[in-house]
Amino acid sequence: MNDMTTPAIERVWPELGGGRVPAWIYSDETLFERELERFHHGRCWSYVGLECEVPTPGSYRRSFVGVKPVLITRDEAGEIHVLENRCSHRGAPVCWRQRGKGKKDLVCPYHEWTFSLSGELQGVPFLRGTRPHPGMPRDFNKAEHGLRRLKSTVRGGVIWASYALDAPDFETYAGPGVLRALDRTFPGRPLRLLGYSRQTIPANWKLYFENSRDPYHATLLHSFFSTFGLYRADAEFDIQPLDNGHETIRSFFASTAADNRSEVTDELKSIKEGFALEDMGVVTPFDEFGDGVISSLQLFPSVMVQQHANTLAIRNILPKSVRETELSWTYYGYADDDEEMHRRRMKQGNLVGPSGYVSLEDSEVLAQLQPVADNYPDSVQVIEMGGREIGPTTTAITETLLRAFYAFYRREMGL
Protein backbone atom coordinates (compact mmCIF):
# COMPACT_ATOMS: atom_id res chain seq x y z
CA MET A 1 0.00 0.00 0.00
CA ASN A 2 2.68 2.51 0.98
CA ASP A 3 6.26 2.50 -0.26
CA MET A 4 7.41 4.18 2.92
CA THR A 5 9.25 2.00 5.38
CA THR A 6 10.83 4.79 7.34
CA PRO A 7 9.61 4.46 10.92
CA ALA A 8 6.64 6.63 11.73
CA ILE A 9 8.00 7.67 15.09
CA GLU A 10 10.99 7.12 17.30
CA ARG A 11 9.59 4.22 19.31
CA VAL A 12 10.62 0.61 19.38
CA TRP A 13 8.07 -2.17 19.17
CA PRO A 14 8.90 -4.76 21.81
CA GLU A 15 10.49 -7.70 20.06
CA LEU A 16 8.45 -10.43 21.65
CA GLY A 17 7.03 -11.82 18.47
CA GLY A 18 3.85 -11.11 16.61
CA GLY A 19 1.71 -11.82 19.61
CA ARG A 20 2.54 -8.64 21.52
CA VAL A 21 1.29 -5.08 21.14
CA PRO A 22 2.71 -2.08 23.08
CA ALA A 23 0.16 0.18 24.76
CA TRP A 24 1.80 3.39 23.53
CA ILE A 25 0.20 2.86 20.13
CA TYR A 26 -3.09 3.94 21.73
CA SER A 27 -1.79 7.16 23.28
CA ASP A 28 1.14 8.51 21.27
CA GLU A 29 0.00 11.79 19.68
CA THR A 30 2.70 11.86 17.02
CA LEU A 31 1.90 8.32 16.00
CA PHE A 32 -1.75 9.30 15.68
CA GLU A 33 -0.84 12.11 13.28
CA ARG A 34 1.31 9.73 11.23
CA GLU A 35 -1.52 7.21 11.07
CA LEU A 36 -3.87 9.82 9.69
CA GLU A 37 -1.27 10.91 7.17
CA ARG A 38 -0.43 7.43 5.94
CA PHE A 39 -3.83 5.84 6.17
CA HIS A 40 -7.00 7.96 6.42
CA HIS A 41 -5.66 10.97 4.54
CA GLY A 42 -3.35 8.86 2.40
CA ARG A 43 -3.82 6.13 -0.16
CA CYS A 44 -6.62 4.32 1.63
CA TRP A 45 -10.27 4.30 0.67
CA SER A 46 -12.78 5.44 3.29
CA TYR A 47 -16.52 5.06 3.55
CA VAL A 48 -18.35 8.38 3.30
CA GLY A 49 -22.00 7.56 2.72
CA LEU A 50 -24.72 5.85 0.76
CA GLU A 51 -26.12 6.95 -2.57
CA CYS A 52 -29.60 6.91 -1.08
CA GLU A 53 -28.48 9.65 1.34
CA VAL A 54 -28.02 12.00 -1.62
CA PRO A 55 -30.84 10.71 -3.78
CA THR A 56 -31.56 13.58 -6.16
CA PRO A 57 -29.55 16.17 -8.11
CA GLY A 58 -28.82 19.03 -5.76
CA SER A 59 -28.75 16.89 -2.63
CA TYR A 60 -25.78 16.92 -0.31
CA ARG A 61 -24.57 15.50 2.96
CA ARG A 62 -21.59 16.15 5.21
CA SER A 63 -19.26 13.35 6.18
CA PHE A 64 -15.65 12.70 7.19
CA VAL A 65 -12.56 11.08 5.80
CA GLY A 66 -10.33 10.58 8.81
CA VAL A 67 -10.66 13.80 10.78
CA LYS A 68 -11.25 15.95 7.71
CA PRO A 69 -14.77 17.19 7.01
CA VAL A 70 -15.99 16.42 3.52
CA LEU A 71 -19.14 17.03 1.57
CA ILE A 72 -20.95 14.58 -0.69
CA THR A 73 -22.92 16.22 -3.50
CA ARG A 74 -24.96 15.00 -6.41
CA ASP A 75 -24.80 17.44 -9.29
CA GLU A 76 -27.43 18.32 -11.89
CA ALA A 77 -26.25 15.50 -14.13
CA GLY A 78 -26.63 13.02 -11.27
CA GLU A 79 -22.89 12.57 -10.67
CA ILE A 80 -21.63 12.06 -7.13
CA HIS A 81 -18.74 14.19 -5.89
CA VAL A 82 -16.83 14.11 -2.63
CA LEU A 83 -15.33 17.50 -1.85
CA GLU A 84 -13.43 18.91 1.05
CA ASN A 85 -15.84 21.03 3.08
CA ARG A 86 -13.32 23.84 3.25
CA CYS A 87 -13.54 27.08 1.30
CA SER A 88 -10.48 27.63 -0.89
CA HIS A 89 -10.51 31.28 0.22
CA ARG A 90 -9.96 31.38 3.97
CA GLY A 91 -10.79 27.85 5.06
CA ALA A 92 -14.29 28.30 6.45
CA PRO A 93 -16.60 25.33 6.02
CA VAL A 94 -18.59 25.94 2.89
CA CYS A 95 -21.58 23.90 4.02
CA TRP A 96 -22.97 24.41 7.52
CA ARG A 97 -25.94 22.08 7.36
CA GLN A 98 -25.68 18.34 7.82
CA ARG A 99 -27.71 17.51 4.74
CA GLY A 100 -30.19 18.92 2.29
CA LYS A 101 -31.70 18.92 -1.17
CA GLY A 102 -32.22 21.25 -4.04
CA LYS A 103 -28.89 23.03 -3.87
CA LYS A 104 -27.82 24.73 -7.08
CA ASP A 105 -24.41 25.75 -5.86
CA LEU A 106 -22.31 25.95 -2.70
CA VAL A 107 -21.96 29.42 -1.21
CA CYS A 108 -19.50 29.94 1.60
CA PRO A 109 -21.20 31.95 4.35
CA TYR A 110 -18.07 33.96 5.13
CA HIS A 111 -17.42 35.89 1.89
CA GLU A 112 -19.94 34.22 -0.40
CA TRP A 113 -17.38 32.57 -2.60
CA THR A 114 -19.57 30.38 -4.76
CA PHE A 115 -18.75 26.89 -6.05
CA SER A 116 -20.57 24.51 -8.34
CA LEU A 117 -21.76 21.19 -6.93
CA SER A 118 -18.67 19.59 -8.41
CA GLY A 119 -16.44 22.06 -6.58
CA GLU A 120 -15.48 24.53 -9.31
CA LEU A 121 -15.10 28.12 -8.17
CA GLN A 122 -17.72 30.11 -10.03
CA GLY A 123 -18.16 33.37 -8.18
CA VAL A 124 -15.91 35.63 -6.14
CA PRO A 125 -17.73 38.72 -4.85
CA PHE A 126 -16.15 41.87 -6.28
CA LEU A 127 -13.65 39.84 -8.27
CA ARG A 128 -13.13 42.90 -10.42
CA GLY A 129 -13.25 45.33 -7.52
CA THR A 130 -15.63 48.26 -7.15
CA ARG A 131 -14.90 51.17 -9.44
CA PRO A 132 -12.27 52.64 -9.08
CA HIS A 133 -10.75 50.17 -6.61
CA PRO A 134 -9.11 46.98 -7.88
CA GLY A 135 -10.41 43.52 -6.99
CA MET A 136 -8.39 40.33 -7.15
CA PRO A 137 -5.07 40.44 -9.05
CA ARG A 138 -5.38 40.07 -12.81
CA ASP A 139 -3.70 36.68 -12.77
CA PHE A 140 -6.13 35.20 -10.24
CA ASN A 141 -7.42 32.08 -11.97
CA LYS A 142 -10.65 30.61 -10.64
CA ALA A 143 -9.77 27.22 -12.10
CA GLU A 144 -6.95 26.95 -9.56
CA HIS A 145 -9.17 27.66 -6.58
CA GLY A 146 -11.91 25.09 -6.59
CA LEU A 147 -12.84 22.94 -3.60
CA ARG A 148 -10.41 20.07 -3.17
CA ARG A 149 -11.88 16.99 -4.77
CA LEU A 150 -11.34 13.53 -3.40
CA LYS A 151 -11.19 10.49 -5.60
CA SER A 152 -14.53 8.76 -5.20
CA THR A 153 -16.35 5.71 -6.40
CA VAL A 154 -19.75 4.15 -5.91
CA ARG A 155 -20.27 0.41 -5.67
CA GLY A 156 -23.55 -1.26 -4.85
CA GLY A 157 -24.94 2.04 -3.60
CA VAL A 158 -22.03 2.74 -1.23
CA ILE A 159 -19.83 5.80 -1.71
CA TRP A 160 -16.11 5.49 -1.02
CA ALA A 161 -13.50 8.25 -1.18
CA SER A 162 -9.76 8.65 -1.02
CA TYR A 163 -7.54 11.67 -0.59
CA ALA A 164 -4.97 10.17 -2.91
CA LEU A 165 -5.88 10.83 -6.52
CA ASP A 166 -3.37 8.10 -7.40
CA ALA A 167 -4.84 5.56 -4.99
CA PRO A 168 -5.29 2.09 -6.51
CA ASP A 169 -8.80 1.54 -7.76
CA PHE A 170 -11.27 0.49 -5.09
CA GLU A 171 -11.61 -3.09 -6.29
CA THR A 172 -7.85 -3.61 -6.10
CA TYR A 173 -7.74 -1.97 -2.70
CA ALA A 174 -10.51 -4.10 -1.23
CA GLY A 175 -9.39 -7.38 -2.73
CA PRO A 176 -11.60 -10.27 -3.88
CA GLY A 177 -12.56 -11.67 -0.45
CA VAL A 178 -13.78 -8.35 0.91
CA LEU A 179 -15.46 -7.44 -2.37
CA ARG A 180 -17.40 -10.69 -2.31
CA ALA A 181 -18.55 -9.97 1.23
CA LEU A 182 -19.44 -6.38 0.36
CA ASP A 183 -21.32 -7.35 -2.77
CA ARG A 184 -23.36 -9.83 -0.76
CA THR A 185 -25.13 -7.11 1.22
CA PHE A 186 -24.68 -4.38 -1.40
CA PRO A 187 -25.49 -6.32 -4.56
CA GLY A 188 -26.83 -3.29 -6.40
CA ARG A 189 -30.40 -3.60 -5.15
CA PRO A 190 -31.76 -0.18 -4.24
CA LEU A 191 -31.17 0.41 -0.57
CA ARG A 192 -33.57 1.78 1.98
CA LEU A 193 -31.98 4.09 4.54
CA LEU A 194 -33.32 3.31 8.00
CA GLY A 195 -31.44 5.81 10.15
CA TYR A 196 -28.49 6.58 12.37
CA SER A 197 -27.11 5.98 15.82
CA ARG A 198 -23.80 7.41 16.92
CA GLN A 199 -21.63 7.07 19.95
CA THR A 200 -18.50 8.90 21.00
CA ILE A 201 -16.07 6.50 22.63
CA PRO A 202 -13.14 7.99 24.57
CA ALA A 203 -10.70 5.47 23.16
CA ASN A 204 -8.16 5.24 20.36
CA TRP A 205 -9.69 4.21 17.02
CA LYS A 206 -7.55 1.10 16.82
CA LEU A 207 -9.14 -0.22 19.99
CA TYR A 208 -12.49 -0.27 18.24
CA PHE A 209 -10.96 -1.68 15.08
CA GLU A 210 -9.55 -4.51 17.21
CA ASN A 211 -12.78 -5.02 19.12
CA SER A 212 -14.83 -5.56 16.00
CA ARG A 213 -12.40 -8.19 14.72
CA ASP A 214 -12.14 -9.98 18.06
CA PRO A 215 -14.65 -12.84 18.07
CA TYR A 216 -12.92 -14.24 21.18
CA HIS A 217 -14.60 -11.64 23.43
CA ALA A 218 -18.03 -11.93 21.86
CA THR A 219 -19.59 -14.68 23.95
CA LEU A 220 -17.65 -13.72 27.07
CA LEU A 221 -18.35 -10.00 27.31
CA HIS A 222 -21.74 -10.08 25.62
CA SER A 223 -23.45 -12.74 27.63
CA PHE A 224 -26.65 -12.06 25.75
CA PHE A 225 -25.13 -13.92 22.79
CA SER A 226 -24.56 -17.28 24.37
CA THR A 227 -27.74 -17.19 26.41
CA PHE A 228 -29.81 -17.04 23.25
CA GLY A 229 -27.61 -19.04 20.95
CA LEU A 230 -27.24 -16.23 18.48
CA TYR A 231 -23.47 -16.47 18.41
CA ARG A 232 -21.97 -19.38 20.21
CA ALA A 233 -18.43 -20.00 21.34
CA ASP A 234 -18.53 -23.45 19.75
CA ALA A 235 -20.25 -22.46 16.52
CA GLU A 236 -18.56 -22.93 13.18
CA PHE A 237 -16.81 -19.89 11.78
CA ASP A 238 -14.93 -18.93 8.67
CA ILE A 239 -12.33 -16.38 9.66
CA GLN A 240 -10.04 -14.93 7.02
CA PRO A 241 -7.23 -12.66 8.14
CA LEU A 242 -5.78 -10.65 5.28
CA ASP A 243 -2.47 -8.87 4.92
CA ASN A 244 -3.99 -5.60 3.71
CA GLY A 245 -5.66 -4.46 6.93
CA HIS A 246 -9.06 -5.90 6.01
CA GLU A 247 -10.81 -9.03 7.21
CA THR A 248 -13.94 -11.12 6.79
CA ILE A 249 -15.74 -13.22 9.39
CA ARG A 250 -18.61 -15.55 8.69
CA SER A 251 -20.58 -17.79 10.98
CA PHE A 252 -23.38 -20.17 10.22
CA PHE A 253 -26.66 -20.04 12.05
CA ALA A 254 -29.23 -22.75 12.57
CA SER A 255 -32.83 -21.66 12.82
CA THR A 256 -33.25 -23.56 16.07
CA ALA A 257 -30.04 -22.23 17.57
CA ALA A 258 -31.93 -20.97 20.58
CA ASP A 259 -32.72 -24.53 21.64
CA ASN A 260 -29.35 -25.88 20.70
CA ARG A 261 -27.18 -25.90 23.79
CA SER A 262 -23.83 -27.56 24.30
CA GLU A 263 -21.25 -28.07 26.99
CA VAL A 264 -19.53 -24.87 26.06
CA THR A 265 -22.56 -22.65 26.29
CA ASP A 266 -23.72 -24.38 29.44
CA GLU A 267 -20.35 -23.84 31.06
CA LEU A 268 -20.36 -20.16 30.24
CA LYS A 269 -23.80 -19.27 31.33
CA SER A 270 -25.02 -21.71 33.92
CA ILE A 271 -26.28 -18.89 36.10
CA LYS A 272 -28.64 -17.66 33.44
CA GLU A 273 -30.87 -20.74 33.52
CA GLY A 274 -34.50 -19.85 33.31
CA PHE A 275 -34.00 -16.55 31.57
CA ALA A 276 -35.92 -16.51 28.36
CA LEU A 277 -36.97 -13.59 26.22
CA GLU A 278 -40.69 -12.98 26.00
CA ASP A 279 -40.40 -11.81 22.41
CA MET A 280 -38.02 -14.03 20.49
CA GLY A 281 -38.27 -11.88 17.37
CA VAL A 282 -35.12 -10.04 18.41
CA VAL A 283 -33.05 -13.24 18.19
CA THR A 284 -34.80 -15.11 15.41
CA PRO A 285 -33.03 -14.59 12.12
CA PHE A 286 -34.67 -15.06 8.76
CA ASP A 287 -32.31 -16.42 6.14
CA GLU A 288 -32.82 -13.57 3.68
CA PHE A 289 -29.59 -14.19 1.76
CA GLY A 290 -30.35 -17.88 1.38
CA ASP A 291 -26.96 -19.05 2.63
CA GLY A 292 -27.42 -19.44 6.38
CA VAL A 293 -24.58 -17.03 7.03
CA ILE A 294 -24.03 -14.21 9.49
CA SER A 295 -21.20 -12.06 8.22
CA SER A 296 -19.06 -9.07 8.90
CA LEU A 297 -16.09 -7.48 7.24
CA GLN A 298 -13.64 -4.73 7.95
CA LEU A 299 -12.39 -2.49 5.20
CA PHE A 300 -9.40 -0.67 6.63
CA PRO A 301 -9.36 1.95 8.04
CA SER A 302 -12.90 3.27 8.16
CA VAL A 303 -15.55 0.57 8.43
CA MET A 304 -16.86 -2.60 9.86
CA VAL A 305 -19.83 -3.75 7.82
CA GLN A 306 -22.13 -6.10 9.69
CA GLN A 307 -24.95 -8.41 8.94
CA HIS A 308 -26.22 -9.61 12.33
CA ALA A 309 -29.12 -11.80 11.32
CA ASN A 310 -31.36 -9.25 9.58
CA THR A 311 -29.97 -6.09 11.05
CA LEU A 312 -27.67 -4.57 8.47
CA ALA A 313 -25.40 -1.69 9.35
CA ILE A 314 -22.23 0.11 8.42
CA ARG A 315 -20.10 1.04 11.39
CA ASN A 316 -18.05 4.05 10.40
CA ILE A 317 -15.00 4.26 12.67
CA LEU A 318 -13.98 7.92 12.77
CA PRO A 319 -10.92 8.98 14.76
CA LYS A 320 -11.41 12.34 16.45
CA SER A 321 -8.21 12.48 18.48
CA VAL A 322 -5.67 9.97 19.72
CA ARG A 323 -8.06 9.04 22.51
CA GLU A 324 -11.47 9.65 21.04
CA THR A 325 -13.39 7.89 18.30
CA GLU A 326 -16.83 8.47 16.89
CA LEU A 327 -18.62 5.30 15.98
CA SER A 328 -21.31 6.20 13.49
CA TRP A 329 -23.85 3.51 12.65
CA THR A 330 -25.86 3.74 9.44
CA TYR A 331 -28.68 1.20 9.29
CA TYR A 332 -30.19 0.14 6.01
CA GLY A 333 -32.45 -2.37 4.37
CA TYR A 334 -33.60 -2.79 0.80
CA ALA A 335 -36.19 -0.74 -1.01
CA ASP A 336 -38.21 -3.88 -1.70
CA ASP A 337 -38.31 -5.06 1.94
CA ASP A 338 -41.88 -5.89 2.87
CA GLU A 339 -43.40 -4.67 6.10
CA GLU A 340 -42.57 -7.91 7.90
CA MET A 341 -38.88 -7.68 6.98
CA HIS A 342 -38.78 -4.02 7.92
CA ARG A 343 -40.26 -4.80 11.32
CA ARG A 344 -37.80 -7.63 11.78
CA ARG A 345 -34.93 -5.23 11.08
CA MET A 346 -36.34 -2.72 13.58
CA LYS A 347 -36.60 -5.38 16.29
CA GLN A 348 -33.20 -6.90 15.67
CA GLY A 349 -31.67 -3.42 15.71
CA ASN A 350 -31.84 -3.82 19.49
CA LEU A 351 -28.93 -6.23 19.23
CA VAL A 352 -26.39 -3.66 18.05
CA GLY A 353 -25.64 0.03 18.25
CA PRO A 354 -25.05 2.26 21.29
CA SER A 355 -27.70 0.36 23.27
CA GLY A 356 -27.19 -2.99 21.62
CA TYR A 357 -27.70 -6.14 23.63
CA VAL A 358 -24.51 -7.54 22.11
CA SER A 359 -22.59 -4.32 21.60
CA LEU A 360 -23.15 -1.95 24.51
CA GLU A 361 -20.40 -3.53 26.53
CA ASP A 362 -17.82 -2.79 23.82
CA SER A 363 -17.88 0.95 24.29
CA GLU A 364 -17.99 0.50 28.07
CA VAL A 365 -14.87 -1.66 28.06
CA LEU A 366 -12.93 0.53 25.65
CA ALA A 367 -13.77 3.71 27.59
CA GLN A 368 -12.23 2.10 30.63
CA LEU A 369 -9.29 0.62 28.75
CA GLN A 370 -8.01 3.89 27.28
CA PRO A 371 -6.99 5.54 30.59
CA VAL A 372 -5.11 2.38 31.52
CA ALA A 373 -3.28 2.44 28.19
CA ASP A 374 -2.58 6.15 28.71
CA ASN A 375 -1.07 5.55 32.12
CA TYR A 376 0.88 2.40 31.27
CA PRO A 377 2.22 3.23 27.82
CA ASP A 378 5.06 0.74 28.02
CA SER A 379 2.83 -2.13 29.03
CA VAL A 380 2.38 -4.91 26.54
CA GLN A 381 -0.83 -6.56 25.37
CA VAL A 382 -0.85 -10.27 24.64
CA ILE A 383 -2.65 -11.47 21.50
CA GLU A 384 -1.72 -15.14 21.34
CA MET A 385 -5.08 -16.91 21.53
CA GLY A 386 -5.03 -19.59 18.90
CA GLY A 387 -1.22 -19.54 18.76
CA ARG A 388 1.35 -17.10 17.50
CA GLU A 389 0.84 -17.61 13.78
CA ILE A 390 -1.55 -15.89 11.42
CA GLY A 391 -3.91 -17.93 9.33
CA PRO A 392 -7.55 -18.69 8.54
CA THR A 393 -9.48 -20.59 11.15
CA THR A 394 -12.92 -22.01 11.84
CA THR A 395 -13.20 -21.10 15.50
CA ALA A 396 -14.19 -17.83 17.14
CA ILE A 397 -11.75 -18.46 19.96
CA THR A 398 -8.84 -16.84 18.18
CA GLU A 399 -6.79 -13.66 18.04
CA THR A 400 -5.37 -14.42 14.60
CA LEU A 401 -7.17 -11.39 13.19
CA LEU A 402 -5.45 -9.11 15.70
CA ARG A 403 -2.05 -10.62 14.86
CA ALA A 404 -2.78 -10.09 11.17
CA PHE A 405 -3.79 -6.51 11.79
CA TYR A 406 -0.65 -5.65 13.71
CA ALA A 407 1.59 -7.39 11.18
CA PHE A 408 0.03 -5.12 8.56
CA TYR A 409 0.21 -2.07 10.81
CA ARG A 410 3.86 -2.55 11.69
CA ARG A 411 4.77 -3.01 8.08
CA GLU A 412 2.92 0.13 6.94
CA MET A 413 4.13 2.30 9.80
CA GLY A 414 7.73 1.05 9.70
CA LEU A 415 7.51 -0.11 13.32
Binding site: Y196, S355, E364
Partner: protein, 162 residues
Protein backbone atom coordinates in the same frame (compact mmCIF):
# COMPACT_ATOMS: atom_id res chain seq x y z
CA UNK B 1 -48.28 36.21 19.93
CA UNK B 2 -51.37 34.17 20.81
CA UNK B 3 -51.74 33.47 24.52
CA UNK B 4 -51.02 29.80 25.35
CA UNK B 5 -53.93 27.63 26.34
CA UNK B 6 -53.80 27.20 30.10
CA UNK B 7 -57.27 25.71 30.47
CA UNK B 8 -55.80 22.25 30.91
CA UNK B 9 -53.60 23.14 33.92
CA UNK B 10 -54.95 20.22 35.93
CA UNK B 11 -54.19 17.74 33.19
CA UNK B 12 -50.69 19.08 32.73
CA UNK B 13 -50.02 18.87 36.46
CA UNK B 14 -51.21 15.27 36.48
CA UNK B 15 -49.02 14.50 33.47
CA UNK B 16 -46.01 16.09 35.16
CA UNK B 17 -46.49 13.76 38.10
CA UNK B 18 -46.74 10.82 35.71
CA UNK B 19 -43.58 11.88 33.88
CA UNK B 20 -41.69 12.35 37.11
CA UNK B 21 -42.76 8.94 38.41
CA UNK B 22 -41.50 7.45 35.16
CA UNK B 23 -38.20 9.30 35.51
CA UNK B 24 -37.80 8.17 39.11
CA UNK B 25 -38.29 4.52 38.19
CA UNK B 26 -35.32 4.75 35.85
CA UNK B 27 -33.21 6.93 38.15
CA UNK B 28 -33.73 4.32 40.88
CA UNK B 29 -33.05 1.44 38.46
CA UNK B 30 -36.49 -0.03 39.14
CA UNK B 31 -36.59 -1.42 35.63
CA UNK B 32 -39.51 -3.74 36.30
CA UNK B 33 -41.56 -0.75 37.49
CA UNK B 34 -40.47 1.18 34.40
CA UNK B 35 -41.95 -1.53 32.20
CA UNK B 36 -45.34 -1.03 33.86
CA UNK B 37 -45.69 2.53 32.62
CA UNK B 38 -46.71 1.16 29.24
CA UNK B 39 -49.81 -0.50 27.84
CA UNK B 40 -49.30 -4.02 26.59
CA UNK B 41 -49.46 -2.91 22.97
CA UNK B 42 -47.24 0.11 23.50
CA UNK B 43 -44.50 1.26 21.14
CA UNK B 44 -41.41 2.62 22.91
CA UNK B 45 -38.62 4.10 20.84
CA UNK B 46 -35.48 6.09 21.48
CA UNK B 47 -34.07 7.71 18.37
CA UNK B 48 -31.83 10.55 17.28
CA UNK B 49 -33.20 13.87 16.06
CA UNK B 50 -31.47 13.45 12.70
CA UNK B 51 -33.29 10.17 12.09
CA UNK B 52 -36.62 11.49 13.38
CA UNK B 53 -36.55 14.65 11.28
CA UNK B 54 -36.02 12.65 8.11
CA UNK B 55 -39.03 10.44 8.90
CA UNK B 56 -36.76 7.43 9.10
CA UNK B 57 -37.54 4.48 11.31
CA UNK B 58 -34.34 3.19 12.93
CA UNK B 59 -34.39 3.47 16.70
CA UNK B 60 -31.45 3.12 19.06
CA UNK B 61 -33.88 1.34 21.38
CA UNK B 62 -37.00 -0.20 19.85
CA UNK B 63 -39.68 -1.97 21.86
CA UNK B 64 -42.81 -2.98 20.03
CA UNK B 65 -45.16 -4.24 22.72
CA UNK B 66 -44.98 -5.03 26.41
CA UNK B 67 -42.97 -8.20 25.83
CA UNK B 68 -40.07 -6.33 24.24
CA UNK B 69 -40.26 -3.65 26.94
CA UNK B 70 -40.01 -6.27 29.67
CA UNK B 71 -37.24 -8.03 27.75
CA UNK B 72 -35.24 -4.78 27.63
CA UNK B 73 -35.61 -4.47 31.40
CA UNK B 74 -34.66 -8.09 31.99
CA UNK B 75 -31.68 -8.07 29.63
CA UNK B 76 -30.26 -4.99 31.34
CA UNK B 77 -30.83 -6.51 34.74
CA UNK B 78 -29.33 -9.90 33.93
CA UNK B 79 -26.82 -9.74 31.12
CA UNK B 80 -25.44 -6.25 30.54
CA UNK B 81 -21.94 -5.47 31.79
CA UNK B 82 -21.22 -1.82 32.43
CA UNK B 83 -19.52 0.63 34.75
CA UNK B 84 -21.84 1.70 37.56
CA UNK B 85 -23.09 5.28 37.44
CA UNK B 86 -25.77 7.62 38.71
CA UNK B 87 -28.22 9.00 36.20
CA UNK B 88 -30.87 11.59 36.86
CA UNK B 89 -33.70 12.60 34.60
CA UNK B 90 -35.15 16.11 34.49
CA UNK B 91 -38.43 16.68 32.70
CA UNK B 92 -39.95 20.05 31.91
CA UNK B 93 -42.02 21.90 29.36
CA UNK B 94 -44.96 19.52 29.48
CA UNK B 95 -47.43 20.44 26.74
CA UNK B 96 -50.71 18.90 25.77
CA UNK B 97 -51.21 18.93 22.01
CA UNK B 98 -54.52 17.14 21.93
CA UNK B 99 -56.85 15.58 24.45
CA UNK B 100 -59.60 13.30 23.27
CA UNK B 101 -61.51 10.88 25.46
CA UNK B 102 -59.31 8.01 24.34
CA UNK B 103 -55.86 9.49 24.03
CA UNK B 104 -53.73 12.43 25.06
CA UNK B 105 -51.02 13.64 22.72
CA UNK B 106 -48.34 15.35 24.78
CA UNK B 107 -44.75 16.50 24.60
CA UNK B 108 -42.09 17.32 27.15
CA UNK B 109 -38.39 18.12 27.28
CA UNK B 110 -35.90 15.87 29.02
CA UNK B 111 -32.36 16.15 30.21
CA UNK B 112 -30.35 13.33 31.72
CA UNK B 113 -27.26 13.86 33.82
CA UNK B 114 -24.70 11.16 34.37
CA UNK B 115 -22.15 10.83 37.17
CA UNK B 116 -19.57 8.09 37.20
CA UNK B 117 -18.35 7.35 40.72
CA UNK B 118 -15.01 9.07 40.13
CA UNK B 119 -15.98 11.89 37.81
CA UNK B 120 -18.12 15.03 37.90
CA UNK B 121 -21.71 14.88 36.71
CA UNK B 122 -22.20 15.89 33.12
CA UNK B 123 -25.06 16.41 30.72
CA UNK B 124 -25.51 13.05 29.06
CA UNK B 125 -28.54 13.41 26.84
CA UNK B 126 -31.16 16.06 26.06
CA UNK B 127 -34.22 15.91 23.89
CA UNK B 128 -37.95 15.70 23.61
CA UNK B 129 -40.60 13.15 24.47
CA UNK B 130 -43.44 12.70 22.03
CA UNK B 131 -46.18 10.75 23.71
CA UNK B 132 -49.54 9.16 23.27
CA UNK B 133 -51.03 8.52 26.69
CA UNK B 134 -54.20 6.67 27.59
CA UNK B 135 -56.25 6.83 30.75
CA UNK B 136 -56.72 3.44 32.39
CA UNK B 137 -58.20 2.32 35.69
CA UNK B 138 -54.66 2.15 37.03
CA UNK B 139 -53.90 5.68 35.85
CA UNK B 140 -52.05 7.02 32.85
CA UNK B 141 -50.16 4.61 30.65
CA UNK B 142 -48.00 5.24 27.58
CA UNK B 143 -49.48 3.80 24.46
CA UNK B 144 -46.57 5.26 22.53
CA UNK B 145 -43.49 7.07 23.73
CA UNK B 146 -40.78 8.29 21.42
CA UNK B 147 -37.78 9.90 23.06
CA UNK B 148 -36.00 11.95 20.43
CA UNK B 149 -32.53 12.88 21.60
CA UNK B 150 -30.94 16.09 20.35
CA UNK B 151 -27.41 14.73 20.72
CA UNK B 152 -25.55 14.22 17.47
CA UNK B 153 -23.72 11.41 19.25
CA UNK B 154 -24.34 9.48 22.45
CA UNK B 155 -21.56 9.81 25.02
CA UNK B 156 -20.12 6.29 25.12
CA UNK B 157 -23.21 4.11 25.57
CA UNK B 158 -26.95 4.40 26.07
CA UNK B 159 -27.39 1.69 28.63
CA UNK B 160 -30.71 2.53 30.19
CA UNK B 161 -33.99 3.55 28.62
CA UNK B 162 -34.68 7.27 28.33
Amino acid sequence: MAAPDRSNAELRAALRDFYEDYAASLDDLRLEDWAEFFTDDALYRVMGRETYDQDLTHSTIYCDGGAMIRDRAAALRRTAVYEPRLMRRFVSGVRVLEDSDDEIQAEANFMISEAMYDRPARLFLAGQYKDCIVRTEAGFRFKARTAVYDNYSIPITLILPV
